[in-house]
């Protein structure tokens, strides 16, 4: 229990630092109103910075006495958002604080804190196993001293939790209609609105053109099978090499300010299905091998879907890759992510008959895995010749020509 909180009786809920470069945040929604009682670490308010939403917990238990910032308002990091009259409080140990009168009713003293096992002591191995198997520890019954969850408890939970679903079973439960299906329509989600604003601004700002090239992916297919990767990290590596050859595409154009970057910070578009799209950034991608890129992309995508990215992980890209091709799409005109000057789109790899050179140099028809790469580029920053040269540099690397 912090001493300041008992001395003053009033604690501020402040806008936290949500990333190294983040200086402000916007209040999205208040979860508590003036007069509401909160427990320590209970969520008080939801804030957002760019694409990242974060819930802010109460620093102490007590009663909300004042909301200082309205929903939709943006304030600087460190500014107070709300005041809590600390009191009637449970200390961190779940013991009623001394000298405090009980809360109205006062019957919740000693109640277990919410969250993933919060309020209970968890050993490192229990936390590791829970994290590995995505287990909600509040569902695990502890058999150790004072109900502590032991390793065997969480292991037993893993086994029972996995038991009922047998993959070989022909039985598939019929889909049950959701009891409270959300009404179709309504206002757009905040993420959809943000994406919309960004895309529209890009199309209004840039002179967007798209150039396509067709690539024989035979070598990529062989290599990715050998490395146990998807094609994406191999295309990413080839793109990075081509960007080093043509740095004019690894650039930002802000009004008339043109900045060409040495380092490649590669944005990777990750679909969040119906929720939208987020573009985490592989920082210093030029330092990574295809295997390293594959690992980083997997990690970023997983955390993107889990909503765990920090604000710093979705900004600062110098070039972006998008690959709707994994869903079988054939061609697209991607929209450039401002202030970058180009975006590369990887389409589906499809076997097609193509004309190749036979053993004696004569024309022959062969079946080859082909893929269309589409580059949307900003005609303000460069011309079509450069876009074509860049695509050809990517193709040369993917097909295994001299690099």
């Amino acid at each position: 229990m912090s001493s300041s909180r008992t001395e003053t009786g009033v604690v501020d809920v402040v806008m936290p630092q949500l990333g190294v470069s983040v200086v402000e945040g916007t209040v999205v929604e208040w979860r508590k109103a003036v007069g509401d009682r909160v427990e320590a670490d209970e969520i008080v308010v939801e804030v957002s910075t760019d694409k990242i939403d974060t819930e802010i917990p109460a620093p102490a238990a007590g009663v909300v006495s004042e909301l200082l910032v309205g929903a939709g308002e943006t304030v600087a990091v460190g500014m107070p958002l709300a005041r809590i009259e600390a009191g009637d409080a449970l200390t961190d140990d779940g013991v009623p604080a001394e000298g405090q009168p009980p809360a109205s009713g006062g019957d919740d003293a000693g109640a277990e804190a919410t969250g993933n096992g919060a309020g209970r002591r968890l050993s490192p191995v229990v936390q590791r196993i829970a994290a590995d198997h995505a287990i909600d520890l509040s569902e695990v019954e502890g058999t150790g001293r004072d109900g502590r969850i032991r390793k065997q408890d969480v292991l037993a939970h893993v086994e029972t939790a996995q038991a009922p679903l047998h993959t070989e079973s022909p039985f598939r439960p019929e889909s049950v209609p959701k009891p409270e299906s959300a009404p179709v329509g309504g206002t757009l989600s905040r993420m959809r609105r943000t994406i919309g604003e960004h895309m529209k601004r890009s199309l209004e700002t840039a002179a967007t053109c798209t150039t396509w090239i067709e690539v024989d992916m035979s070598r990529v297919e062989r290599e990715r099978a050998a490395l146990g990767l998807t094609a994406l990290p191999l295309v990413a590596r080839a793109t990075i090499d081509a960007l080093r050859e043509h740095p004019q595409l690894n650039a930002w154009l802000e009004d008339e300010r043109h900045t060409v970057h040495d380092d490649v910070h590669l944005g990777i578009a990750v679909s969040l299905d119906e929720d939208g799209l987020i573009v985490p950034v592989v920082r210093d991608a030029h330092d990574l091998s295809p295997e390293g890129l594959g690992r980083r992309i997997r990690d970023l995508a997983r955390r993107a879907r889990a909503g765990e990215l920090t604000a710093d992980e979705v900004r600062g890209a110098t070039f972006t890759l998008t690959n709707p091709g994994q869903y079988g799409a054939l061609m697209a005109t991607p929209v450039i992510s401002q202030p970058q000057v180009a975006i590369l789109d990887i389409e589906a790899i499809i076997k097609r008959p193509v004309v190749v050179a036979g053993p004696d140099g004569e024309d022959a028809i062969a079946i080859r895995p082909m893929c269309v790469l589409g580059l949307s580029w900003d005609h303000r920053a460069l011309d079509g010749v450069l876009a074509a040269r860049f695509l050809s540099a990517v193709r040369r690397r993917l097909e295994g020509g001299p690099s």
């Binding site: 050993s123 490192p124 191995v125 229990v126 936390q127 590791r128 150790g144 001293r145 502590r148 032991r150 390793k151």
Partner: protein, 321 residues
């Protein structure tokens, strides 16, 4: 294979190496005509002669110093300290000369120093100590401590052949108390740990006489499957075996017969805290002798040395955690 006591196994290992290798010889107080204070070298004088079974004055620094010189000249001396406690008089020769010779001058010091260690028989404060950790802390020395007759022979053989100075801690209280099958002829044991009993609910890590205490304490412990890991070698410490045991069991009791502070078990506990943190399901528990001299009085000695009951209680507590 023959059934030997721990003491006979040491004699057997020493005799085998002396028969096979002319460079091996023994020196120490009363090792010749008397056959050694504990009779490890009984009969050696008759078999190998006074040049290879040398009685020395009561001067441990002289014994170790002479051995260092002989080793540098190409021999493989095995020194006997009458009691481990007396090695303190040879400390400088062992720690500062033998341990640093290779570092300073690139010379091999192929000596083995046998330390009859440990208490449990009312030997009092000068005849009961476990000084392993003094030498673990000194770079350049290896330290081993067998718990079984088979390992007593095997580790001694490896120690004699090792080009580095090796401190060989043989436990006096095991000399005639434990018997076991020992391979005849040459038998060398690597300086690695050994799983004395398999298990996965908890691991007791011990060495020397405490391995037997650990085995007895956990033989029937409310149905728990308790692993016992016998370290055998303290330098080098078999870190991978320790980490593997912790990974499997997640709960650890470390037992030392030595005084608690900075004992071998402290190093083991520190290793686990640093490299096995995410495998732990409870605090690393230590059972050791408190930081007091070993009392002469039998009830007082029993009170300070870790015994079956103390180890069992520590395991029960941790299992229930």
């Amino acid at each position: 294979m023959s059934t030997l006591t721990y003491l006979q196994a040491i004699s057997d290992g020493l005799r085998t190496e002396m028969r096979d290798d002319d460079r091996v010889f023994v020196m120490g107080q009363d090792v010749g005509a008397f056959g050694g204070a504990f009779k490890v070298t009984d009969g050696f004088l008759d078999e190998f002669g006074a040049n290879r079974v040398m009685d020395t004055p009561l001067a441990e620094s002289g014994i170790v110093g002479t051995a260092v010189g002989a080793a540098v000249a190409g021999l493989r001396p095995v020194c006997e300290m009458q009691f481990a406690d007396f090695v303190a008089c040879g400390f400088d020769q062992l720690v500062n000369v033998a341990g640093k010779m290779h570092y300073r001058q690139g010379l091999s010091v192929n000596i083995t120093v046998r330390l009859p260690s440990g208490g449990g028989f009312s030997g009092g404060p000068f005849h009961s100590q476990n000084p392993e950790a003094w030498f673990m802390h000194a770079p350049g020395l290896k330290v081993v401590a067998p718990s079984t007759p088979e390992d007593a022979k095997g580790l001694l053989t490896t120690a004699i052949r090792d080009p580095n100075p090796v401190v060989f801690c043989e436990h006096k209280n095991l000399y005639r108390r434990v018997k076991g099958e020992v391979p005849a002829g040459e038998h060398a044991t690597p300086f690695t740990a050994r799983v004395a009993r398999e298990g996965d609910d908890l691991v007791v890590i011990a060495y020397g006489a405490m391995v037997h205490t650990a085995l007895e304490a956990t033989e029937d412990l409310d149905g728990a499957r308790v692993m016992v890991l016998d370290l055998r070698s303290l330098v080098p410490l078999d870190e991978e075996a320790i980490l593997a045991a912790v990974h499997r069991c997640s709960k650890v009791v470390v037992v030392d017969e030595a005084n608690q502070t900075c004992a071998a078990g402290a190093q083991v506990a520190a290793l686990i805290a640093q490299r096995a943190f995410e495998d732990l399901d409870g605090p690393v528990v230590r059972v050791a002798t408190p930081d007091v001299p070993i009392p002469f009085s039998p009830p007082l000695e029993q009170a300070v040395l870790p015994d079956v009951e103390r180890v069992r209680e520590a395991c029960r507590e941790l299992l229930a955690y």
